[in-house]
């Protein structure tokens, strides 16, 4: 039965293999001690390079979604918590809409920017209906801005009004999940197309 399987058919029995696999352990095995001494004895000491392996630990790797697995590693840390991996990256979870347009606004810098320059420079600002009055540049707002989540998007603030009259629908390239190099390439290609 075993001889019909593909890998067993490929294993051609060799004379040397048969002897080494079934030999009793009383003969010197080359794995744990020095090599077998041939009949014409030559005892020059030769340097046998041995494996020089570093110390290894077992580590529990916990992915961002809570699942774990163990690995062998040189790191002495017992538990490694991964913050960003394929389980919460948009490239590997394309159907997960919560990963799109994730804005990590640490220290409130983005909110401050929006307060001063408006939402015109947002990546996903929808182009409003193109009107000539909206071509004025947005003014600096001196009064304190409303919180980011409750801001009413004023159509006259968006700079995309300027170009919406000239731009076609497909101009807006989807830049999610692409590296800076790929984004630049895409822009260049779309520019060429024009």
């Amino acid at each position: 039965m075993g001889s019909k399987l593909p890998t067993t058919l490929l294993r051609r029995p060799t004379l040397a293999g048969a002897i080494s696999s079934t030999s009793p352990p009383s003969t010197n095995s080359p794995r744990l001690s020095s090599p077998i001494i041939p009949i014409n004895q030559v005892r020059h000491a030769t340097f046998v390079p041995r494996h020089r392996r570093p110390y290894q630990f077992t580590q529990l790797v916990q992915l961002s979604d809570g699942s774990t697995y163990t690995v062998r590693t040189t790191s002495p840390q017992a538990l490694y918590k991964s913050a960003k991996d394929s389980r919460n990256h948009i490239l590997w979870q394309p159907s997960n809409s919560s990963l799109k347009n994730v804005e990590v606004d640490e220290a409130g810098k983005l909110a401050a920017f929006r307060e001063r320059y408006g939402r015109a420079w947002d990546a996903d600002a929808a182009p409003a209906a193109g009107t000539p009055e909206a071509s004025e540049a947005p003014e600096k707002k001196d009064e304190p801005a409303a919180p980011v989540t409750e801001e009413v998007i004023d159509p006259f603030d968006s700079l995309t009004d300027l170009i919406s009259g000239f731009a076609t629908q497909n101009e807006k390239a989807d830049m999610s999940g692409l590296s800076a190099k790929e984004q630049a390439k895409k822009e260049k290609f779309s520019k060429k197309k024009k």
Binding site: F57, G66, P76
Partner: protein
């Protein structure tokens, strides 16, 4: 594309040629069987009414039936209805359990490794007199000087270096103990200021979720997070009336192949119609993975004796149709069915049978062994060869 005759010839030639090595070991390799009656190596253009010899009823019976067909249109129509089914599977999400031999072997190898690798250099990883350095020192002392956490107490140097094997009955190797040791080590013993934390102050580490989920405990067969280390298969139920009483028959979702469709298109349509669209699925290519031939109901045969034939609603619909038109039962052309199953994978979502046109009333996600109990015998035998290891 090769023409039909040349393709068949090439197949014949290759089947008779073997390499020298295989020719030497000819006892194990079976010769290519001579052409069975009616089997050709090419598909001819003309429609063939006789079924292939591999079917379950003897050929003579079939031939007599086709001969006695009355109307000329019926004699030209093929003897089998063609259907396409979907075997939707959820692949295992977890690795299989470690066997006791595996765990013991891994511990043995780790102990040998302890004897053969370079010693651990703490100074490379921990800077002197930092909080993490103090933390490491405390834990190392508790482990009696062993840097590794999962091998128990063993010193590869000194007079007891020979004693690297654990005694029988030792629990050092079990995966649960290894996990506990790693989680205990992951706890911080020294705060960021360098103060040694008392047992009450220590923050416990987030434990991994257990392998047996809630669905396992309740044995909820409609949920997809049950039996995470096994493959789950979707089966649907149809309730059929047999002689006044209702019987439930389980099977895979199937549907008739329309004239302009390919098998894969039918399968996609059947899946959407039967189980809804709120599932992230992928049908693996276009090639069928299993097939089932359902023989037509014989003249004298009672439907109750062939339960799985009742699963296929088309047959009953056709019978009802013909009866309504007033065609007598003796004149009815009873066709069998050929069902070709395609494999599908589900990655997210859940099946929803609401408003399905095939009359399915319930669904379950079952493992291989549970399928054997639930499916009719002939259906199970048709699909069991496409099952995976687990």
């Amino acid at each position: 594309m090769l023409s039909a005759p040349s393709r068949g010839a090439a197949l014949l030639r290759s089947s008779q040629r073997v390499c020298l090595q295989c020719a030497r070991t000819s006892t194990t390799i079976t010769r290519a069987a001579p052409l069975a009656a009616g089997r050709r190596y090419f598909a001819s253009a003309e429609a063939v009414a006789t079924p292939p010899p591999s079917s379950q009823t003897p050929p003579t019976q079939q031939q007599t039936r086709t001969k006695t067909a009355t109307s000329p249109q019926q004699s030209q129509s093929p003897a089998y209805r063609i259907k396409s089914g979907i075997i939707l599977t959820r692949p295992p999400l977890l690795t299989r359990e470690q066997t006791p031999f595996e765990s013991a072997f891994y511990l043995y190898q780790k102990r040998l490794n302890e004897r053969l690798t370079a010693p651990f250099r703490k100074d490379f990883y921990f800077k002197k007199d930092t909080a993490s350095d103090l933390d490491w020192k405390i834990k190392l002392k508790e482990r009696h000087g062993v840097p590794a956490k999962d091998i128990g107490r063993y010193n590869p140097r000194g007079r007891m270096a020979w004693n690297d094997e654990v005694l029988t009955g030792s629990t050092t190797s079990s995966p649960e103990n290894v996990l506990e040791a790693l989680l205990a080590d992951a706890e911080a013993r020294v705060s960021e200021d360098g103060e040694i934390m008392a047992p009450e102050e220590r923050v416990p580490v987030e434990r991994p979720v257990p392998r047996k989920t809630e669905a396992d405990e309740k044995n909820d067969v409609r949920r997809l997070d049950r039996a995470l280390d096994r493959t789950l298969y979707l089966v649907v139920k149809r309730e059929v009336e047999v002689g006044g009483k209702k019987e439930a028959i389980w099977g895979f979702p199937t549907g008739l192949v329309h004239t302009e469709e390919g098998l894969h298109e039918t399968t996609a349509r059947v899946l959407a119609e039967a189980a809804g669209v709120n599932m992230n699925t992928w049908i693996v290519g276009r090639v069928p993975v299993a097939h089932q031939i359902v023989q037509p109901i014989e003249k004298g045969e009672k439907p109750e004796e062939s339960k799985e034939k009742l699963f296929y609603l088309e047959y009953l619909k056709e019978q009802a149709d013909l009866k309504a038109r007033g065609v007598k039962s003796e004149q009815v052309e009873e066709r069998g069915e050929k069902i070709f199953y395609l494999k599908g994978r589900i990655m997210a979502g859940q099946a929803d049978l609401k408003g399905n046109k095939h009359g399915y009333t319930d669904f379950q996600w079952l493992t291989q062994e549970e399928l054997k109990e639930v499916l009719p015998e002939k259906t199970f035998k048709s699909v069991r060869n496409m099952f995976d290891l687990r």
